[in-house]
């Protein structure tokens, strides 16, 4: 990790929206060159935290120290009633960029997100995916030291999301910028982030590289949130949490079970299999075993908790 001084440091933040605090005692530092993803269930306070980091709302307690400029793209791609280009140039004006440089900077930011073809469209004629592209380009255009993005891929259909994620992954990478991105699912964290924070139960429940956090979550609660849907109590009293990808149907497998439920997917069936001590989820090729069928599975991996 880059060890230049942090561009933004939050210490002991308590944030809320008027009611009881959503998050307590959050410590966070964003360093130049890194992209930090924040993952958490709905309503945990991700957007509220981002608003506080951006300086839009006051924290109920704690401090935010900013050693550079901070720009944010909030969750709704709120664009003004003007053309895409005018929207980006307006943001550059707010940012204090001289008028003569705005057209070029706006053009470059739109190109970086492959949205240059939208430049002359009125913003209210854009599709959801196009608006998200422009929203992201506008936030990139100001070239802030710290960029905060709130679910930049929310509400997009799968192909649109994949395309934007691909473009954003390269556009967001900058050696001097610190980026914090609130993400909606694990795939986005994998695709973008150097570091992952998991917010759960009012605080930071896990932090580390996406690989470390997603492979071995620090607590069972975090594991359950991160898709370790299988849960088996072992003979020694410990709990094994397993992702579906770590389980395979195998006639010669060591664990016997019974299919308890089925969720059809695009080209597979996600099956819940009751086994001794709990249940596991396994993806079987379509059509998969019937409900009630006796099967054998092989478990390869998972995370153990006391």
């Amino acid at each position: 990790m880059d060890r230049r001084p942090a561009l933004l440091t939050a210490t002991g933040l308590t944030v809320g929206r008027g009611g009881p605090p959503l998050l307590r005692g959050v410590d966070l530092a964003l360093h130049p060159g890194e992209i930090v993803a924040v993952l958490g269930p709905n309503g945990v306070g991700k957007s509220t935290l981002l608003g506080v980091l951006a300086g839009l709302h006051e924290a109920e307690a704690g401090t935010v120290a900013r050693a550079g400029s901070v720009a944010a793209a909030l969750q709704a791609p709120a664009l003004a009633h003007r053309t895409v280009r005018a929207n980006v140039e307006a943001a550059l004006g707010w940012w204090g960029v001289p008028r003569r440089d705005r057209a070029e900077r706006a053009g470059a930011a739109l190109r970086a997100l492959r949205a240059e073809g939208l430049a002359d469209r009125p913003a209210d004629t854009l599709s959801g995916g196009e608006a998200r592209r422009v929203h992201l380009a506008r936030a990139l255009a100001v070239e802030a030291d710290v960029l905060l993005l709130d679910e930049p891929f929310a509400g997009l259909d799968a192909p649109t999301r994949a395309a934007l994620l691909h473009d954003a992954a390269s556009a967001l990478r900058h050696p001097d910028r610190a980026t914090l991105v609130v993400v909606h699912d694990r795939a986005e964290a994998w695709a973008l982030a150097d570091r992952l924070l998991v917010l759960l139960d009012g605080g930071v429940a896990a932090a580390g590289t996406p690989g470390a956090v997603l492979e071995s979550p620090p607590t069972e609660r975090v594991a359950a949130f991160l898709g370790f849907t299988g849960r088996v109590e072992e003979a020694d009293g410990r709990v094994l949490r397993i992702r579906p990808a770590q389980v395979a149907l195998d006639d010669g497998g060591p664990v016997a079970g019974t299919v308890r439920g089925r969720i059809p997917e695009e080209d597979a069936v996600l099956c819940e299999v009751a086994v001794a001590g709990g249940s596991v989820w396994v993806r079987a090729p379509y059509p998969g075993p019937a409900e009630g069928a006796a099967v054998r599975v092989r478990i390869d991996g998972g995370a153990r908790y006391p």
């Binding site: 944010a72 793209a73 909030l74 969750q75 709704a76 709120a78 943001a91 707010w94 209210d124 506008r138």
Partner: protein
């Protein structure tokens, strides 16, 4: 021809021949309304924007005052303003009794709650997060305000036209503070009173027709603005 038809015909003739200083009265009316609307906008837009932005107790109180002000009877305002302008009263030193500035002041005070209340409503109706997003990209102070008002454009134009319309059509306060002196402080609407008391319904009708024309132009302008915004 019936009495009404006869009167209408005479009124049109008087408009065509500019009888009784009709053109001068029309210009006076428009200038007075333009001046008072401009002052009301200059003062009311920032206040309306601020009231529409937040939810603090002071702002809510301001909204209540502005909304209540929409129902302020012009006669009440006129009476107390006229008293304030009398020699020896706080504003007596201005020497504005029965003058055009007094009319501008009265019209401005009547237009102000309209501008404030309608602007606040327009800003309240902006899409959630629009202004926060602008702040998150560095917009502050007057730039943020200008952006908000520009986005609330249709509502702001409605406020301006409603203020202008109220100023053009206002009679009670205008007559009380301006004196309704023919060829000096009369407006299209107040001249109707002069003409009727002089027993000249055709002249009154001529004034009414011009006034309706002005109102129709205002309505058409607002509709054009609304339509232009709907891509």
């Amino acid at each position: 021809m019936s009495f009404l038809g006869e009167m209408l015909w005479q009124a049109l003739e008087r408009i065509a021949s500019d009888d009784g200083g009709l053109a001068a009265t029309t210009w006076r009316t428009l200038w007075l309304a333009l001046a008072s609307t401009s002052i009301a906008l200059a003062a009311g837009l920032p206040v309306g924007y601020a009231l529409g932005r937040g939810a603090s107790r002071i702002r809510r109180g301001g909204l209540i005052v502005a909304n209540a002000g929409l129902g302020l009877p012009p006669v009440v305002l006129g009476v107390y303003l006229a008293l304030l302008l009398l020699p020896g009263s706080p504003l007596g030193g201005l020497g504005w009794t029965n003058t055009l500035p007094a009319i501008v002041l009265a019209q401005t005070l009547l237009a102000l709650p309209i501008v404030v209340a309608l602007t606040a409503a327009a800003v309240l109706g902006l899409p959630a997060g629009l202004l926060d997003q602008a702040r998150a990209l560095g917009a502050r102070g007057w730039r943020l305000g200008a952006f908000g008002l520009r986005e609330a454009w249709v509502g702001v134009v409605a406020a301006a036209l409603a203020a202008f319309g109220s100023a053009v059509a206002e009679v009670g306060a205008v007559v009380i503070v301006g004196g309704n002196v023919r060829d000096q402080t009369n407006t299209l609407a107040s001249t109707v009173l002069l003409d009727l008391s002089a027993g000249d319904p055709a002249a009154a009708t001529a004034n009414v027709l011009v006034l309706l024309g002005v109102i129709a132009v205002l309505g058409a302008t607002f509709t054009a603005v609304q339509q232009r915004r709907r891509h």
